[in-house]
């Protein structure tokens, strides 16, 4: 187990290095730089800027000093565009926000999805089942950039119940719409996966045996069916979590939450090399750790798996 974890962490380092070098080169190869402005600057002003941000050095040296800054001081450098902020500042501000609504959305998606899927399977071929299947398919195909403006029109403009955007950590009324917009389609996917794997488990021999022995229905389900039925859901969680973090850009745009999703897209468009690299590395690291975490949970649920 420990060896497995260490092995996986060892892969993490070359992965991140690859990610850094790849995105760095990609970014620098793009036309236009962080200081390309619609209003052209005199060359001497541009030269001063390039000197200040080290863009006048050879590329390998820039990569090296960037990596060294991270390794030695955990310093991701200054933002090239938000000039009175460092990348650390920007991530420290945006990441907790994204993580909060992302995490809550994740929990909502998992809890609601598993419940919906399990109930649908247990009530197979009843009106409840059809209803659950209908919801989950509908929710899966409705893009969240359609849902988000509808939510604001309904809950803010018409009903006046919720603030139309912004972010407060201490006021969950700001969280509700972002969470709905972000979690719905994942909730639906989880419900679908859960339903079909639950159906399979319920039809398997050991459940039939347990039922035949006369154990009450709900106990069989909770004790014996739920855990094995969760396996496919768990293997879906890793990609789902990462997709939620990357999908957060829509939440940031529509609900002005100030998270890192928008920061990333902006940094790519603005050629804010430093912020773009910082966010990419952060999300890359998060992906690696979350996949590892999921694998550990997987082993815990399914004792057949050996590391």
């Amino acid at each position: 187990m420990l060896v497995f974890i260490l092995k996986r962490l060892a892969i993490a380092i070359p992965t991140l290095l690859l990610l850094i070098v790849f995105s760095f080169l990609l970014m620098h190869a793009a036309p236009g730089g962080p200081f390309t402005q619609e209003r052209q600057m005199p060359p001497e002003v541009l030269a001063n800027l390039n000197a200040k941000y080290g863009l006048d050095q050879p590329l390998w040296q820039q990569i090296w000093s960037y990596i060294w800054g991270i390794v030695a001081h955990f310093d991701f450098g200054p933002s090239f565009v938000y000039k009175d902020r460092s990348v650390n500042d920007i991530i420290a501000q945006g990441f907790p926000v994204t993580l909060t609504y992302g995490g809550v959305s994740f929990l909502v998606a998992v809890l609601a999805g598993v419940t919906l899927g399990a109930v649908a399977a247990v009530k197979h071929n009843t009106i409840i089942d059809y209803f659950a299947v209908g919801i989950s398919i509908g929710a899966q195909v409705l893009p969240n950039f359609v849902m988000a403006p509808i939510l604001v029109i309904v809950f803010t403009l018409i009903l006046g119940w919720l603030p139309g955007g912004g972010w407060r950590f201490n006021d969950p009324s700001y969280w509700i719409m972002p969470v709905i917009a972000l979690s719905t389609s994942y909730m639906a996917s989880i419900a679908r996966i859960m339903r079909s794997s639950m159906l399979e488990v319920l039809n398997s021999n050991h459940i039939r045996t347990a039922r035949a022995k006369g154990l009450p229905g709900y106990r069989v389900i909770i004790r014996h069916a739920l855990k094995p039925a969760l396996l496919p859901v768990v293997s879906y969680l890793g990609p789902a979590f990462v997709a939620m973090i990357t999908g957060s850009v829509i939440v940031d745009i529509y609900f002005s939450t100030g998270g890192i999703g928008k920061a990333f897209v902006d940094s790519a468009l603005n050629r804010d090399y430093a912020v773009m690299m910082g966010v990419t590395i952060l999300v890359g690291a998060l992906t690696i750790f979350f996949n590892l975490f999921v694998d550990i949970i997987y082993g815990w649920i399914d004792p057949k798996i050996r590391y």
Binding site: P31, F35, P42, K52, P78, V81, T257, R271
Partner: protein, 536 residues
């Protein structure tokens, strides 16, 4: 001998000697709640006056800091930190008299040295300000050499005679120099604060400003909050106590939230003004705003041969149906443009432009005729590419342009690019026609017309014309430059290095109890201290 001039400023000094802050008419009943919430499209890039480059950033900077002069609701100068100034006979030395009661938000007095430090900082290559060229534009003595690193910053033409007297030396007389001082990059900053906190000095807990408001919160991409400053010299006349700026990246979303009462001012998305004006006549407003939207024509060596022919350029300009653009696409009170300088620019006299009076049919006929003379037409179609950067509105206009040109036998290929790529291509002359917009830095025609001089550095279409250069050079020293500006516009009309399309309007929803926002200022410069909210 010194001459006391204050140009346009003078008139106002006499007219309204008392309060320059919120000018609340006698008998107005003010609301209990004196807050003002406005909309920002994007995160504020910087709150540092010498670093900021954006219009939105300037709106915040103007409330946190104060320069030598401010603008009133008509765009005229009113005293800020400076009460007035003297100008030497040769027109090169300005002596500003600073008000003795100006204070920073930590209680220290605002002195001439703070301006000297700020301007040195702006020019200093180590600061690497993107707006360092503004000092060059203002013709401040030695600015160029300092920015290039050939001279120490101490040689800049600015000097503190004493704490309340500031002397600025410029290289050539510049009649509109005082107007340029309302720009944020010339605002004073505190040397000791910057020395202590470095680039963190603009964080709410560190920032020391001399404006009417102090920064209480700045969450990047979410909100900026400002509270009334008690140390501001005119705090007694400042009515609004709290300013909030909310970042909303989607303009339609902004409008929804305005309608839900979360904002006091928001921009109206293109095409929605007529409907909103009908529904909310007391809230939907459209005011002239100093920017011009154009397609630049590439005249450089890299440009297509056909565009070197002035007949082709004229044909392209004539065929552009500006009425459709403003009346059917934008629908927000923008004006069709047949020239370069915004029509509402102070003192600007519009030249008589022939095709402005024609009907669109006449323009099309003339365009066909000119193209035929140049050898193009439906049988020999002219293939051109239009570059524009991604945005709903640019896209709509480009698609319409494609349709306008089709009957001429001009096939326009649309080349939509992401903004940085577009800019890069434009600056390297990799385009045939390119979308561009220019916004005035100050309220005077030269801010537009300097663009097309061969030495301007912005002239991306490489329009080089000796007569034009000569006219613009002459205007710098002329007693009355306006006829020369009109002449310059006529040259542009003859040579057509651009296809002017429309001149901007600021189209916004403003809450009906908010008063005191500028109505006659084409720069749309506003100050929180001038605003007040009336009781309903």
């Amino acid at each position: 001998m010194k001459l006391t001039t204050a140009l346009s400023a003078l008139a106002l000094f006499v007219a309204a000697p008392a309060a320059f802050a919120a000018n609340v008419p006698e008998g107005t009943k003010l609301a209990e709640n004196q807050t003002y919430t406005f909309w920002l499209l994007d995160a504020i890039k910087s709150l540092d006056p010498q670093i900021n480059t954006d219009v939105e950033g300037s709106d915040i900077v103007r409330n946190l800091f104060e320069g030598l002069y401010n603008e009133d609701g008509n765009g005229d100068l009113v005293p800020g930190v400076a009460l007035d100034h003297d100008l030497s006979d040769d027109g090169l030395t300005y002596t500003f008299h600073l008000r003795p009661d100006a204070e920073w938000s930590d209680g220290k007095p605002v002195v001439a040295g703070d301006f000297v430090y700020a301007w040195h900082r702006l020019a200093d290559p180590a600061t690497a300000s993107e707006y360092a060229w503004y000092l060059q534009l203002m013709q401040v003595k030695n600015a160029t050499a300092i920015v290039e690193g050939d001279m120490p910053v101490e040689d800049l033409g600015i000097k503190a005679i004493d704490d309340h007297t500031l002397e600025v030396t410029i290289e050539t007389p510049l009649p509109y120099f005082p107007q340029m001082l309302t720009h944020g990059s010339t605002f004073p900053v505190r040397e000791d604060v910057i020395a202590e906190y470095g680039s963190n000095w603009t964080k709410p807990e560190n920032l020391v400003g001399n404006g009417a408001y102090t920064l209480s919160k700045h969450i990047l991409g979410e909100r900026v909050e400002m509270d009334k400053s008690d140390t501001y010299w005119d705090a007694d006349n400042t009515v609004i106590t709290h300013l909030t700026a909310l970042t909303i990246n989607d303009v339609n979303q902004g409008l929804t939230r305005y309608l839900a009462g979360e904002l006091d001012r928001v921009d109206i998305p293109a095409g929605q003004y007529p409907r909103l004006k009908e529904q909310y006549p007391d809230q939907a407003t459209s005011l002239p705003f100093s920017c011009t939207y154009t397609y630049l024509i590439n005249l450089s060596e890299k440009g297509p041969e056909a565009l070197k022919d002035v007949r082709v350029r004229k044909a392209l300009s004539y065929a552009m149906n500006r009425d459709v653009v403003v009346d059917n696409i934008l629908q927000g009170g923008q004006k069709p443009a047949y020239n370069w300088t915004h029509w509402a620019t102070a003192g600007f006299e519009m030249p008589d432009i022939d095709y402005a009076h024609w009907s669109q049919k006449e323009r099309m006929d003339k365009a066909k005729e000119l193209l035929a003379e140049a050898g193009y037409g439906p049988d020999n179609p002219l293939e051109l590419t239009l570059n524009y950067n991604s945005s709903e509105d640019h896209k709509k206009i480009a698609i319409a342009a494609q349709q306008f040109y089709r009957p001429l036998g001009v096939n326009l290929t649309l080349n939509n690019m992401e903004w940085k790529v577009h800019t890069d291509r434009m600056q390297n002359q990799d385009f045939d026609l390119g979308r561009y917009a220019w916004c005035g830095d100050y309220n005077e025609a030269s801010t537009y017309l300097d663009f097309f001089t061969s030495y301007s550095g912005h002239n991306q279409g490489h329009f080089y014309n000796d007569e034009y250069d000569a006219v613009m050079k002459e205007s710098k020293t002329a007693e009355d430059p306006q006829p020369l500006y009109t002449k310059a516009e006529s040259i542009l009309n003859e040579e057509m290095p651009l296809i002017p399309i429309y001149q901007y309007a600021k189209v916004s929803m403003i809450a009906k109890d908010i008063k005191g926002l500028p109505t006659q200022n084409v720069m749309q410069t506003w100050y929180g201290k001038d605003i007040y909210r009336v009781a309903q």
